[in-house]
Symmetry: D2
Subunit: 360 residues, 4 copies
């Protein structure tokens, strides 16, 4: 355990890279919510493989199959169970790695944990493929949040040291390459193609912003917005760093620089700057919630790498062929949105408990 | 909710800065474990206020009072309840802030969330004072981990842009100023005193390392070691960033640089580098687990700051006097150890379920 | 929420009576466990409908489809996702009840809770059909328990006031009619057929016994074996009562009658009687764990019943035709075993955390 | 684990019979709720020992000490921590039972579970003393429910086979002996005194009723009202049976007798009978929620009993002197109310999540 997330909007992700399907079961969706199937499909398509020269060639339709929880496209209060079929799995590609773990992957740690019984093909349950059902859970949360006036949107902010330095204020998901500054985007693209042609890969940073949040979401100490988002975002493979607002830069500042002064915007309390990323004491302050996730480079690279043979107990070298993304951060942009949406929606349901209501 | 952490080593933190006491209730400690009271006190003393010119002048004995769960100093299987009395609280210091929220603090967000009913004095439940019971829970976990051959230790790695660039390989907690490179330490100290004399504060970075971990701890997707540690560490006030291994630097690397090649050290599988911070796929690989937390500067500063008067609905300015740490990161070093220890011990108990055992 | 059970062996049940499938996702199964598909199928067949004149005529193959978590029939450590297709659903049968709730069913309460959005067909998520995936989760737990020397078996103990007064000491699941005293069984059968021919139904009692338990399973206060089993067994539709050991009869006894004296059986501590049903202070004492669940009569009956029209807001009457069990307790026998097995296995995994282990 | 209850109104009970104090930490109470200290004290006094010849002579003030979570008697949103000091503990009374477990008690099972490290004095964490903090958590829930128009009240329904056959429609807590039919009450009293003078004890049944519930509380399958109440009520020591509505009697009925026909009472949907105890499909139907808990006789009796000496591994006999209730069911009446209130309030908070709200 555990492939489950959430206390109120609670879901469990299942499946392996090469199992019959991957999927998710979701509890806690209110009854009477229409799921916009087209919007969900468009969202899933942003993550889906095989759509571009910058992504893996594995081709999956990723059409969600609702097994339960819907009646005429509307939630009925019962858990939602959703499947995404695995159709283009090539397990043979992975046979060589059964005893020679790929550096940077979970092959070795999974083989220790599961004493050799793990499903090694394609990374099994540790595969990036499992971000597809996360996008189903998050994509539904996105729709539900939108109905409350809350928008979640992310962008690729950096690739291998190339940064998009423009501020993210509006969604860029309509774009082919999800950046604000298109010039920077061209350089990032170049960087990815360069890595690809070298049989190598490159890391990146995804920035995410949540707009329209009321003040007061999030809970003290271990259920602050930072904790909640971290618990979801570190569930995305390859994420190794996370910061809120100015994050690590705050560690270099003085208090007089870092503190965000309160101001009035008409009747509304606001802050002049947003160094805290919209979160104070774990609770939203009504400003945009902003965070950044650091992705390591795709560990699958086709240059030779040193490893060990777990059976023969000797050192050896491998080359990982197969089909891989040269930069996971790129396709991770909607995945980060999904993780954020799930975390925010869960906090929003939590907050409802704090409001007295009239029974009738 | 929620001031609770953990699934197996589960604890709930209670108290406000100026309540009669702060404390913690812990479930899941095995029966028959001796709690070393002296070692625990030494650990708490590292965090306790009023010990140095670099820390707040608030003076608290912080002697843990075990209300339950112990019999002759040994755990009896029942929950541990521990109190730490608040003796040096000066609520009058906080009266002015009831309606003029201090920038950078939870005053405003708590007042929205609790509709004016929050205990504002000293930051209430959002105060750094609540890290004392966290240190009780973590300090006990540290002892239990030590008995399994696992050591958790942290250092102050940076203050306001001054970095300790030496590698952390051994505990530095015996030192007066917890750094590896003492020259860097002197500069950091200088930086803190400078902030203090300016009525200002400064941010910092704490690095933590866990040695002696077996491979195989941690669980897939949402219960990976990163998720578990993040859920605990973001429970420390002022933490705004977290990274594992090379963290954000991985986003600038290529895969061939970032991947840690597997090697054999005698019979033992190891890695040549440790860019991943000892975690692959959320699971420990047997190398040291390494992470860094970014702390924002103490928000309490005595220079004038802009804020709003929530009652009169007008803009105004305040000066925060009271007694404060000029750099929370310094006293946070043992707190980060405590959070890490709690997370690691929780994962270790989880792993026990995966081992078949003999009943008798 | 919540259709989830368990802390260690954790599963979520999904599906409605007439959705594409019902199913279950299970977390916490150890890697390396072979699932005996034939044994599981035999177990599911005991619950499956359409097998006898005493049960509903709805015909479902109930062949579990493992979507994930298995590799060559052996668990790989990832969550198990299992589907059971719904093939013989006749939603038209239920159209009349959309606004005229059937007495004794969840039609009315679900319509209030879900504000009219519930999936009313066949009782939706409240249908007895959902006990099929519970039997998958429990049937797997049964196999895992068996490998630890623990047996779980139940019998039909009473139907409409007719009791099987013989003691349950061995499984009766091989029998066509799961009772100990076959003479009593014939009377029960008669009672069921009588109800059926009258278009009526009848209640019953199922008794369950768990053999081979070590002493020491279960936890204090809210996680005692009684709490754990109750939380699972009340998840079976129609259960309205539950008692452990002598249960309600203990309320009529004196302490000197009720207390079970400790004795030695060779080296082993045992008790002379077992009035407590093998549980003291919530913890197993090494004797057989015994409990009884009371099932109300199937609420679906074909005699006319008074109800209200929720749309027209007037009183009216209905007759429930459709296909129904005249006595749900009969087919519930394996379901009770499943619920008990899940609860016991969850407690067993919990107990593993209390045993120190050697890492290697 | 686990001495914790609840998902929304979540509390952890701590303490042993002879520890410095027993207590409870509660999360999830809304901010701004005034705790009526006098009403809470009156409620605790109903459970407190040493008040009558029918109860143990142990004398405890049971005045709750609020360590945190309150500001001027009003909840501030932070966890409530409450202590009840143990002042009249006589551990010496229990020394003889360290190795000769008392029949019917948790002495033996706790010694197995905790490998001899349990706090045996007074039953430790398994003592009825732990129902005092449960009454704090439940007593607060009672006040919060009352503000929503919901009343929870119980009565002693049977003692050793003597039944109060009158219906419970109004609270009887003002009475000295909490029964409806005072004639029956006199017989019960007689039965208890008889047991007491014989150095014996006697079991009983407590019935509880919740009035004013809206329809729609409770959740499907494992979070139905029955599951929620069972999970709390089996947390009370000595409870061995539980039934809802007509409970075990439903197992003897036909469907046409058992089903509660729906009727209209003015505009309101109601049922003609209430055999289901106000719960259909786990969800409240707006009728009174009714359940009954069976209590075994107090296991502590002063007549000689057979047991074993765990050290010498031989059979022996003991006499339990000490101070004990001759009938735990009597003092358990408010405890059952407390458990029910906690469960109902938790379900009510859960339901709030299902109602869309306006942010402002």
């Amino acid at each position: 355990m555990s492939s489950s997330y959430g206390q109120n909007y609670r879901f469990t992700i299942f499946g392996q890279s090469h199992s019959a399907a991957v999927g998710v079961v979701i509890e806690g969706v209110l009854a009477g919510e229409r799921i916009d199937a087209e919007a969900l499909q468009r969202f899933l398509d942003r993550r889906a493989p095989g759509r571009s020269e910058l992504a893996t060639a594995r081709k999956e339709a990723d059409v969600p199959e609702f097994v339960s929880g819907l009646k005429d496209g509307v939630t009925c209060g019962a858990p939602l169970a959703v499947l995404l079929r695995n159709t283009d799995a090539r397990s043979a590609d992975y046979a060589p790695f059964a005893h020679t773990p790929r550096p940077g992957h979970a092959d070795y740690t999974a083989s220790v944990k599961y004493r050799g019984h793990q499903d090694a093909a394609g990374g099994g349950h540790f595969s990036g493929r499992l971000t597809a059902p996360l996008c189903v859970a998050g994509g539904i949360a996105l729709q539900l949040l939108q109905r409350e006036g809350i928008r979640v949107f992310a962008r690729l902010q950096a690739v291998g040291g190339v940064w998009d330095t423009c501020e993210l204020t509006e969604p860029v998901s309509e774009k082919n390459f999800p950046v604000v500054d298109e010039e920077a985007g061209r350089w990032m693209r170049e960087r990815i193609l360069m890595a690809r042609s070298a049989g190598d890969s490159v890391g990146g940073v995804v920035e995410c912003r949540v707009d329209g949040l009321p003040a007061g979401l999030g809970d003290p100490i271990f259920d602050g917005m930072e904790n909640r988002i971290a618990a979801a975002v570190f569930g995305i493979p390859a994420v190794k760093g996370l910061e809120f607002g100015e994050g690590f830069r705050l560690a270099e500042m003085s208090g007089s620089e870092a503190n965000d002064p309160f101001i009035l915007e008409g009747e509304r309390v606001s802050t002049r700057s947003n160094n805290c990323g919209g979160i104070l004491g774990g609770i939203t302050d009504g400003m945009p919630l902003v965070f950044r996730a650091a992705f390591k480079p795709t560990p699958s690279i086709s240059v030779p790498q040193d490893t060990v043979d777990l059976e023969k107990r000797c050192e050896t070298a491998i080359t990982v062929s197969g089909r891989h993304d040269p930069c996971v951060a790129l396709r991770a942009v909607p995945v980060v949105e999904a993780a954020a949406a799930a975390a925010v929606y869960d906090a929003l349901l939590e907050e409802r408990k704090n409001r007295r209501m009239e029974w009738n």
